[in-house]
């Protein structure tokens, strides 16, 4: 069942990690590396920094997606912004083109829900990813950049939660309340809730839900697909970590959290790693004299922290790769970005080119 459902979906790669470790940049880099390798790739990303948008040659990344202009690449890369509010509005408008758009825009709950709160962002990200894959069947790779820390785990846990919301008996009661007045079954429960939030509120929420209901069928179906897609053997969870003890702590807690949900990370990435200089060990050893200048002390401290973080990430069964700091200020920014993503792409190849793997491991040793 799982195999059949997943076979016609592209390969999914999710990047998780603490804030500021470079998830968005590495997601874009991985997408570009896929395109350079001749794959049809898609990137679904949180709003990237200006410098990264410039590097991709996009003034902005729209919700519906835009093609990144690549010269001489065999594949393609389309990038879209994760914008739950815009996606939700679009789905409701597509489901009932005539009436729903106006109603929904006027409903204070929808405005509040859509524009000011981020509670459903991750589940909607999943739905968006499935929608994209369904509408572009030739897509081979989908890279999903996630919100930092805690939210990323919700993305994995939330499909069930959101389905419970849309599918739940309470929603059906509320919709019926909005349309027909109090439902006979659930009457006592609704009366109790009315004491908590006011009866009018329940009716307003019911109206909102019945507007969304038109789109909810597709959403629930896509969430169910997303749930299976996330659990597919070809799906990769990449935990990105930076050179800091805090980031290592978040990486370790994400690792535990996704394992609790029955997933396992495929790869740890130590981002912005400094290549080990030859003969550096005595220079950064604990008893070596401290360098005089603050920048030199910083470099030494950085190398020591990096050693500690790498040891921590490498303690489990998950592979760890180093990715150097990339500069996006170079004239050939796209090339620089694609080069950054290449080791990541190689590491995620199912059976990989074993030669490349050997090369990497010998360099790391």
């Amino acid at each position: 069942m799982t195999e059949i459902a997943a076979r016609d979906l592209p390969r999914l790669t999710l990047l998780l990690g603490a804030g500021g470790v470079g998830k968005t940049t590495l997601s874009a880099a991985l997408g570009l590396a896929h395109a350079r390798a001749g794959r049809r790739a898609a990137l679904l990303s949180v709003d990237p920094a200006r410098r990264l948008r410039t590097a991709l040659g996009l003034a902005e990344v729209p919700e519906h997606g835009a093609r990144v202009a690549l010269s001489g690449a065999a594949g393609t890369l389309d990038a879209a912004l994760l914008d739950p509010s815009a996606s939700l509005r679009r789905w409701v408008a597509e489901a009932s083109p005539d009436a729903a758009r106006g109603d929904l825009a006027a409903n204070p709950y929808f405005v509040a829900l859509a524009d000011r709160l981020a509670g459903l962002a991750d589940a909607i990200g999943c739905v968006r990813a499935v929608e994209w894959a369904e509408r572009d069947p030739s897509l081979a790779e989908l890279v999903l950049d996630t919100a930092p820390g805690r939210s990323a785990v919700e993305l994995l846990a939330r499909p069930d939660k959101l389905m419970a919301f849309f599918d739940g008996r309470l929603m059906r009661w509320l919709v019926r309340l909005a349309r027909l007045g109090p439902a006979r079954r659930g009457g006592r429960l609704l009366a109790g809730l009315g004491d908590v939030s006011g009866t009018r509120t329940l009716r307003d929420v019911g109206e909102l839900l019945s507007a969304i209901e038109a789109a909810a069928g597709d959403m629930v179906a896509r969430l169910e697909r997303a749930r299976r897609w996330l659990r597919d053997a070809a799906t990769s969870l990449v935990v990105v970590c930076g050179v800091s003890d805090d980031a290592a702590e978040v990486a370790a807690s994400l690792d535990r959290a996704v394992r609790d949900l029955g997933f396992a990370p495929s790869l740890f990435v130590l981002n912005r790693a400094l290549a080990a200089p030859p003969g550096w060990t005595p220079l950064i050893a604990g008893d070596a004299p401290a360098p005089g200048h603050a920048f030199a002390r910083y470099v030494r401290s950085y190398l020591r922290t990096q050693d500690r973080v790498r040891a921590r990430l490498g303690a489990g069964q998950v592979r760890v790769i180093d990715v150097p700091d990339g500069t996006l200020d170079a004239p050939s920014r796209l090339d620089a970005l694609a080069a950054l993503g290449e080791p990541l792409r190689e590491a995620l190849e199912p059976r990989g080119s074993s030669a490349a793997r050997r090369r990497r491991s010998s360099r790391a040793a």
Binding site: T201, P277, W280, S301
Partner: protein, 316 residues
């Protein structure tokens, strides 16, 4: 508000990865050192702060981590039960309605609900607990979720107010809104670093926070400041130690690190100029611990930050 005096509830907001937990812990340790009873309220997957103080991660129940200093890690489910059972005394109602699995499924997915519970918990801890338990915290430092979600916390009372809520939720919303609106009861600190994305996000969210609260954040904390570096060496290999280490593959990396530093310093100056005049307590720099100590432990980083944050309570 008297300069140098922070109200009972202090929200520490900032982009993911800028060091909110470090600043929250530093602030909490600073108040506790002055003899106050302080709680650091976190809302995160795993509490990072307790281990810095040599304690196991905290759950929903507050746990002491140092003299005068306790921490907790919020979960909506535990808060909901506490709210209805202990605070409202509605155990039967909680069991019949709130704990009903259909209601649970809906409330867990309902946007804004967990946020409202979080704010309600903070208010209970700083004010209502005094009447119910006989004591309350002098300060609750809120290690808020990352910026987007963290800033949406401040919007929760407005959102629910426009929704025409009635019943208990409306009462709760009104109380929380009053707490957020009162500068004598709550304040926001915004943490940034001289990194590109953090600076962009600070610029984007500052006016939004000011609009939600109808006043600006009380201070901008510039974490991982490179101010301690003084004048940079002329190049990435200017001193002998750097020349020795910047060989082979490492050279390009160290050159990039140096270029990164030059950019950070430029951004930091721009950021301080921009925010110093926009917050009542100005912009406060906290040095990048990697510049000051050699491979510092998180606890050392917190101690350094406490010292750097002195301007926040010195005058009180």
């Amino acid at each position: 508000m008297t300069p140098g005096m922070l109200p009972p509830v202090v929200f520490v907001l900032g982009k993911g990865g800028v060091g909110r937990s470090t600043i929250a812990a530093a602030l909490g340790a600073g108040f506790a050192a002055r003899g106050e009873r302080v709680l650091i309220a976190q809302w995160t997957v795993a509490d990072p702060i307790s281990p810095w103080f040599g304690c196991p991660p905290a759950g929903y129940a507050a746990r002491p981590i140092a003299p005068g200093l306790a921490t907790m890690n919020f979960t909506a489910e535990a808060a909901l039960e506490q709210y209805f059972v202990e605070h409202l005394g509605l155990r039967a109602f909680y069991r019949m309605v709130v704990a009903n699995r259909h209601v649970r499924a809906a409330t867990r997915a309902a946007p804004g609900f967990e946020e409202l519970m979080f704010l309600g918990t903070l208010m209970w801890l700083t004010t209502l607990a005094r009447g119910e338990l006989g004591w309350s915290y002098d300060h609750v430092i809120v290690d808020a979720p990352a910026m987007g979600h963290g800033a949406s916390l401040l919007a929760v009372p407005h959102v629910t107010a426009t929704l025409g809520l009635g019943g208990l939720l409306a009462t709760e919303c009104a109380r929380v809104a009053a707490m957020l609106a009162d500068p004598a009861r709550s304040a926001v600190l915004v943490v940034s670093t001289p990194e590109e994305l953090a600076v962009e996000e600070t610029r984007e969210f500052w006016p939004r926070i000011a609009r939600e609260l109808d006043r600006p954040p009380v201070a901008a904390i510039l974490n991982r400041s490179v101010g301690a570096l003084g004048e940079l060496p002329d190049g990435p290999r200017a001193c002998g130690w750097l020349a020795a280490i910047a060989a082979g593959d490492a050279r390009a990396g160290i050159d990039r690190l140096y270029a990164h530093f030059v950019r950070r310093r430029r951004r930091e100056r721009a950021l301080v100029d921009e925010f110093a005049g926009r917050a009542p307590l100005g912009a406060i720099a906290v040095d990048d611990a990697l510049l000051v100590d050699d491979a510092p432990s998180p606890r050392q980083v917190v101690t350094r930050a406490t010292a750097a944050l002195q301007p926040l309570w010195r005058a009180s």
